[in-house]
């Protein structure tokens, strides 16, 4: 796993702050590299879409809360990256190139706003089952799987199990009680009762869910 900045929210176990609290907290200037900021923004832009669709698909308010938190976090990162970029510009050439970076950052933020709009569909009364019905027809789908205590996967690392290369299922987030791990890295240990949010096709899902429910001894 690559070195990540101390501020990054990816790949570690954490309790998500309430998004409302986060939204109204003071912005504090913390020097961070533009590269680190942009990497995190790109990662959020991809994760947040999957989470937003899965919130709608499973009609799950908790996942929707995570999406709101990430959306707020994205606003902050966008603010930080603008400040850092302005301080970095010295010449006209610098400014031209940095403008490109800011545009990509802005696009990542637009994506997170779109994800916010998707979960607002959930908040309305009577969205009805039409969205889950539609989303279930996609080739690549989102699935939720709970790890049973009988599964061989308990106390094993994702990388050792080679989950993604064996089944094609990408684990996009893990929920452990009140804690979340986004984009869990290869050295994350799976535990009994973890909920995994995964993305992949039916075939991969059927293998992985059998394995995580303890019905299959190993992933082949």
């Amino acid at each position: 796993m690559k070195e990540k900045g101390k501020r990054s929210i990816f790949g570690k176990l954490q309790r998500t702050p309430k998004w409302k609290k986060e939204e109204f907290s003071e912005l504090e200037y913390e020097p961070t590299s533009v590269k680190e900021l942009l990497t995190e923004m790109k990662d959020i832009s991809e994760l947040i879409i999957d989470l937003a669709y899965s919130a709608v698909l499973f009609d799950n308010k908790d996942v929707a809360e995570e999406v709101k938190f990430l959306e707020v976090r994205m606003d902050k990162l966008n603010y930080d990256i603008r400040m850092m970029a302005m301080m970095a510009a010295r010449t006209k050439e610098d400014a031209e190139q940095l403008a490109g970076i800011l545009q990509v950052a802005e696009a990542a933020e637009s994506i997170s706003n779109a994800a916010g709009d998707i979960i607002s569909l959930l908040a309305e009364e009577k969205t009805g089952p039409i969205l889950p019905k539609i989303l279930k027809q996609a080739d690549e789908q989102l699935f939720r799987i709970k790890i049973s205590s009988a599964a061989m996967a308990c106390e094993q690392k994702i990388g050792d199990l080679r989950v993604e290369s064996e089944t094609g299922m990408r684990i996009i987030a893990i929920r452990r009680g009140e804690y979340w791990i986004y984009n869990p890295p290869a050295d994350t240990t799976l535990k009994a009762d973890d909920w995994l949010v995964t993305r992949g096709n039916d075939e991969g899902y059927s293998d992985l869910s059998k394995f995580l429910k303890g019905k299959l001894k190993a992933l082949e």
Binding site: K42, A114, L121, K126, I130, E140
Partner: protein
């Protein structure tokens, strides 16, 4: 041909908009204007689909196939996907501009958790002359082929029936260990999927 239902169109908009984001980020990594231009074409397609779905849902409401609530939900979802597509367009706009890309752009996208990779299929690779549906690269290596260059043509979002030929170039995304496996398969070093 089977007529497309409202559901089919929403899904198509959703899938294509996600594909556009993937392609947009990879156009930056490879500093590749051809991929970037393709995102433009996909945007046209999405605009058409969006127009189409607005008409279809309204028709559905008139014919009482869809409730008003359902129709609204579908339209809103399509609108969100449309916004995502617009964001992808903003990204490739940076690539298509006549300004050299800042090196940090490439670096930060490379450092991300999901890797994009480009592989060249050698004549002795076992991938040759097989369809993607048969190879099941997605479930076997974890790598999803998002685009490929096939006989001087670009294919975006290839499907199960797409055949891989020697000399094709595949653009894929997935985990780091999958990348290595895919490179070995394409170059003929590994013979087992």
């Amino acid at each position: 041909m089977k007529k497309k239902t409202v559901e089919d169109i929403v899904l198509e908009i959703k899938d294509k908009s996600e594909l556009m984001v993937d392609l947009a980020y990879s156009s930056l990594i490879y500093d590749n204007k051809t991929i970037a231009k393709e995102v433009y074409d996909l945007e046209d397609l999405i605009d058409n689909l969006y127009h189409n779905i607005q008409k279809k849902t309204l028709e559905g409401v008139r014919n009482k196939d869809l409730s008003i609530d359902d129709a609204l939900t579908v339209l809103r979802l399509a609108e969100c996907s449309e916004k995502i597509a617009d964001a992808a367009l903003e990204i490739i706009d940076v690539e298509l501009r006549d300004v050299e890309l800042h090196p940090i752009l490439k670096m930060s996208i490379r450092e991300s958790d999901v890797v994009f990779t480009k592989v060249h299929v050698e004549p002795n690779s076992i991938l040759c002359n097989k369809t993607l549906g048969k190879l099941k690269l997605g479930s076997e290596t974890g790598m999803l082929i998002i685009a490929m260059r096939h006989h001087d043509k670009w294919l975006y979002g290839p499907n199960k029936n797409t055949m891989i030929d020697p000399g094709d170039i595949l653009f894929a995304k997935g985990p780091e260990d999958g990348e290595k496996h895919l490179i070995e398969l394409a170059s003929g070093i590994a013979n087992e999927i």
